[in-house]
């Protein structure tokens, strides 16, 4: 009893070392996969996937999770330091940094989709609509209205949440297939109508978005830092990583909160959730709006980064790719979803030369994942209330003894 409440210095130090080692391995692998030539990169992805499956079978993944959660500060600080180093490692190749930026932004979108699909089991085929609304809002506010793109992000989030409400309200009454059909129909309506308005650039989209600027420091320009030449993609990589960290924090906290529990409850049995007093409408709308807010932020940054918004980037295929990310990575597990986003983005970009086979490849991947491992690579974590309970019991007994 006392061993758990006292800090046991040598074993805690060993834990810290383990955490730092795992972090180094993770970021080292990420950098390696990004920098490698496409064949090596894809092969190493296969190896990584096989390794993840093996580790999960042996139970190591949950051990790593509980280790990280027990020593949150060390885990976070070491990861943060490594995240600051990675852009410098990648800086020599612009395209590699570009892939990293996309991976971070798509990771944020996938986290948003995770609220709807992973936690609440609502298959949302309209994710690309939220992403697109964010991007178009950012484009319109910066180009047609001349507003600073930073405020544009807030407007993009508001617009995405509004669209989330518009899409979410009709889906409240529908279940299962009908929900999928409604979101599919709305995705198609979006794709078809966005090209009709010249205000949004029509079928050719809007080009020449200004990009971000912090106190005169233009993110669109190349800079030199510590003697390393950093192309503008690196600036955006830092921005995307900050957004990703914030999004992951929100996603993980929501996951273990009462809302996250309520969403899981709704996924399992909506009638029972209703009987338990959960306000199903409010929780579902929360899932939709939170998810769409994430997509809106990611979309706004995406639009300014690419300096272009066009309708082709936000079609049904994109929505399918986001769904692929969540399913491959692991439903309802924010870290799993990020892994899925990373893997799919790397495959997407490394196979650019084979663009013809891209959708075929995705179809095959999706089918394989669904048949072989529908839980995903890093499945949902079992909610562990026991330890918390045990610790609180320990504290109370300790106080009782002293009293």
């Amino acid at each position: 009893m006392n061993e758990k409440t006292k800090a046991n210095n040598p074993s805690v130090f060993m834990d810290y070392l383990k955490i730092i080692l795992v972090n180094i391995i993770i970021f080292g692998l990420v950098s390696f996969v990004l920098k490698a030539d496409y064949l090596v990169s894809l092969l190493s992805l296969v190896v990584i996937i096989a390794a993840l499956l093996y580790l999960e079978k042996k139970g190591f993944i949950s051990k790593i999770f509980s280790l990280f959660i027990r020593h949150k500060v060390v885990a976070f600080v070491s990861a943060l330091i490594l995240m600051c180093i990675v852009p410098f490692v990648l800086a020599s190749n612009r395209y590699v940094v570009h892939i990293a930026v996309l991976a971070c932004l798509y990771g944020v979108v996938a986290l948003g989709l995770n609220f709807q699909m992973g936690s609440t089991d609502m298959t949302n085929f309209a994710t690309a609509v939220f992403f697109g609304v964010g991007a178009y809002a950012s484009g319109v506010t910066s180009m047609r209205l001349g507003i600073n793109p930073w405020w544009g992000i807030l407007i993009a989030v508001a617009a995405a949440v509004l669209v989330g409400l518009i899409i979410g309200v009709p889906t409240l009454r529908t279940k299962g297939y009908y929900l999928s059909l409604v979101t599919m129909a709305l995705q198609l309506v979006f794709s078809m109508t966005i090209i009709l308005f010249q205000f949004f650039g029509g079928p050719d989209g809007m080009a020449g978005l200004p990009g971000f600027e912090i106190f005169g420091f233009d993110l669109g320009m190349t800079h030199n830092l510590f003697g390393v030449k950093l192309p503008y993609q690196v600036n955006y990589l830092f921005l995307a990583m900050i957004v990703l960290i914030l999004a992951t924090y929100v996603a993980m906290r929501t996951n273990i909160s009462r809302s996250g529990l309520a969403l899981n409850n709704i996924a399992q049995d909506e009638t029972a959730a209703n009987c338990l007093g959960i306000n199903v409408t409010r929780q579902k709308l929360l899932a939709f709006c939170l998810g769409s807010a994430f997509c809106g932020v990611a979309g706004a940054i995406y639009g300014q980064y690419m300096m272009f918004v066009g309708p082709d980037d936000f079609d049904f295929n994109k929505s399918l790719i986001f769904i692929c990310m969540v399913i491959l990575g692991g439903m309802d597990n924010p870290i799993g979803v990020l892994v899925g986003a990373f893997i799919i983005t790397v495959i997407n970009e490394k196979l650019r030369d084979f663009a013809d086979y891209q959708m075929l490849f995705y179809g095959i991947i999706l089918m394989t994942v669904l048949i072989a491992r529908p839980k995903g690579l890093i499945p949902k974590r079992v909610r562990n209330y026991c330890e918390v309970f045990k610790l609180s019991v320990v504290k109370h007994e300790h106080i009782k003894e002293e009293a």
Binding site: Y177, A185, V189, M192, T193, L360, G363, M367, L370, I371
Partner: protein, 305 residues
């Protein structure tokens, strides 16, 4: 007046194509409670198979046979291929997920649809380009009125024949009644001795054959086919089936016709309407979903706790 007439005929024909795909959806859903999203892609695959067979036949001497024989031969080839595809759909997309939540077969059929679509695009010679559908139905019309062309009458007639065949099959044959029984109450049907496995397999084969004929009619109606027309037809066919009521064949007809009429009349009456005719149709579908999810002719299901 004659423009109005030709628009009605157009709407009827479009409605026929949607109805046939919607029937495929209703059939699969009725038997197994799964939405087979690749139905549209199976239909287009059938059309492409027919085109491929036609190209092969055109190089051999068989082209000199009477037109009826050629059409029948092509249809048989296409039906066989689509029946095999239907079977493969069941084996790879539906069977592994028999006890899984309904999300899984939904996504896996979407994925299979992508694979079929991209497969056609990649492996058909110049598959990415829109392909002209062979003119198999003789040109010309009754009374010189373009609305009553032989092609239109043919499409309408074939649809009616298929519908009559389907109704008779479902009501009079043992297999048809078994399919209805499984749709109504699966466990009870099993207990009365109906072989679930063989009936379900047969349903997928039958669905494949129906969808291949649908593909033939879609090709004849459109004249030019793209390899990814299947996704649009799939979604529209599914919308038609849902709007009409997913389990009933009458519903599929009603939904298909409704969708066809909305599209043609929005295209015709509003300036530049063709670009958002589909969007309006989908908005109508969404409204239906929210207001009356069981469809026009469906039954309201009460969820028992």
């Amino acid at each position: 007046m004659s423009e109005f007439l030709s628009q009605i005929v157009n709407a009827l024909l479009l409605g026929c194509t949607y109805t046939l795909v919607a029937i495929g959806f209703s059939l699969f859903f009725g038997v197994l409670d799964v939405v087979v999203f690749c139905s549209g892609d199976i239909a287009i695959f059938g059309a492409f198979a027919l085109m491929g067979a036609y190209m092969i036949i055109a190089t051999t001497g068989l082209i000199n046979l009477p037109l009826v024989v050629i059409i029948l031969l092509l249809l048989v080839i296409s039906c066989v291929l689509c029946a095999i595809l239907g079977l493969l759909t069941y084996l790879f997309s539906i069977k592994p997920f028999e006890d899984a939540p309904p999300l899984m077969p939904l996504l896996s059929t979407i994925a299979l649809g992508i694979v079929i679509r991209e497969g056609v695009g990649l492996f058909f010679p110049k598959g990415r380009n829109p392909q002209p559908f062979p003119e198999l139905i003789p040109l010309g019309s009754i009374g010189g009125n373009a609305a009553f062309s032989f092609r239109n009458i043919f499409i309408l007639a074939v649809t009616v024949v298929i519908l009559i065949f389907l109704f008779t099959f479902l009501k009079k044959t043992k297999m048809g009644i078994s399919m209805q029984a499984i749709a109504q109450n699966r466990e009870l049907a099993y207990m009365t001795g109906i072989n679930l496995r063989s009936t379900v397999t047969f349903t997928f084969v039958l669905g494949g054959i129906l969808l291949s004929i649908a593909g033939f009619l879609i090709g004849s109606y459109s004249g030019v086919l793209r390899f990814d027309a299947g996704s649009m037809y799939g979604i529209k066919g599914f919308s038609a089936a849902v709007v009409g009521g997913l389990r009933s064949i009458y519903g599929a007809i009603a939904g298909g016709m409704l969708l066809g009429f909305i599209e043609v009349f929005v295209s015709g009456w509003f300036p530049n309407g063709a670009s958002y005719a589909s969007a309006i149709a989908f908005v109508v579908v969404v409204i239906f979903m929210v207001v009356k999810p069981e469809g026009i002719l469906g039954e309201k299901t009460v969820e028992k706790v």
